[in-house]
Amino acid sequence: MSGVGGAVQGDAFARSVARWLRAYPRWWRAQRADEVTGVLAEIAGPDATRVGLRDGLGLVRGGIAARWRAWPGVAVWLRMQADRPVPPRHWLWADDVISRPWVRVPPVYLFLLFLYGLSGEWDLLWLMVVVSVLVATMFDLSHHRASARRTAFATGSVAHQSCLVVRSEPRHRVRASSFAGQASIVTGVVGLVGVVDLVRSGGSLAPVVVGASVAVGVGVYCAWGSQRLRPVPQPNRDVVATRRPWWVNVVVWGSVAVVFAQPFGTDTSWLLGIVGLAAPTFAAIWLTTRRRPEVALVDARRAILLDPPRVDAPELVPRPDPAASGVLAHGVVPTGDPWSPAT
């Protein structure tokens, strides 16, 4: 086999390992992925291009066990949800949770789901589930994440005791053109599904025309607002594109809208139509920022709301202390519990 072929084969195997290793927490993967890939490659032999099912399932089981061992208990989880500092020995767990796209969705939406469950309005319950997923996958929750980081990792003075340090890293902000472009297509598709469903079920189109006119008016205002945007230097920021390609969101949310529109009649069609009203606003933001890759979504939002631009503070991120040697077990180098009752 040629060297290039071997490299390609090695890459394929590493990708296969990486897929299975997603069962493990992020901090565990950051620390062990290279090592485990080497062990799996030696177990599988030189010709293997993917992890076998038995080894893969073993990794899934190990990943779930690692997450279970790192779980700090309900008390710490509640502390984090209540914006309280997290004990340093659980920082990596907290960082993993805060980095998830659906951070802050559970408490709010579980409460709303509970209310709707009590009210017995099952179509609204279903809507809440869909909106929860929509919020988790599409909308920019980075401000929630930054806020959670500031409070969770505020106890930096005892960081060295747990062999973790809190570092200041550039804050990731979603690029305005990237997000608004996707959002305009997705909300447009969802709104279109609603309107088509409304027409099929014989509903009146007059409110649709009125709503669309208002939405276009709002869009024009947003175009004016984001046009007058004057970004300020942002030394602590990385502007990044959305994670998924636009067509994935269109397929996923278009399908959800079609499935969602079927069983619940015109009420649901109206709700889908209302989602579509956001399309002109997102389209306006995309039009005015598509040649300005340095503009983040938050800048456009602040400009539209006539708020002055704000310089981002750096992001607080716990990382293993380079001065400490060894492997973090359960997220902490075993040098004793720094969060003992005495501290």
């Binding site: 090695g10 485990v36 890939t37 080497g38 062990v39 799996l40 990794l59 190990g62 492997v327 077990a329």
Partner: protein, 111 residues
């Protein structure tokens, strides 16, 4: 810190008793020690290593890159050496008692 001493945990401890080993080295040593009966997968191996490191029985002793692959070596701590010694003594005592029980058993076919 307490640690549940399963057969796999004991074999991994035993494999690290004579010298530091990397992950695949542990897999091979366990296979030899168990007479080819225990074949550790990567998921099981790193679950055991996580628990041993967490309990303070093992620690990282070094790293090297071989053929582009990272090898991280683990070694026993004094606590780990003590634990594997105690477990071996317990198993030896158990085997001795088992031998006595089996020796006291009437021979098959005997009158």
């Amino acid at each position: 810190m307490g640690l549940k001493m399963t057969e796999q945990t004991y074999l991994v401890l035993l494999s690290l008793a004579d010298r530091p080993r990397h992950g695949y080295g542990v897999v091979q040593a366990v296979r030899e020690l168990s007479d080819d009966r225990v074949r550790l997968g990567a998921g099981t191996l790193y679950g055991v290593l996580d628990r041993l490191v967490g309990a303070g029985y093992a620690e990282v002793s070094g790293e090297e890159v071989v053929d582009g692959r990272l090898r991280r070596y683990y070694r026993l701590t004094p606590e780990g050496t003590s634990a594997v010694t105690q477990e071996t003594a317990r198993l030896r005592a158990l085997a001795a008692r088992a031998q006595r029980v089996l020796g006291a058993r009437p021979a098959l076919g005997g009158a």
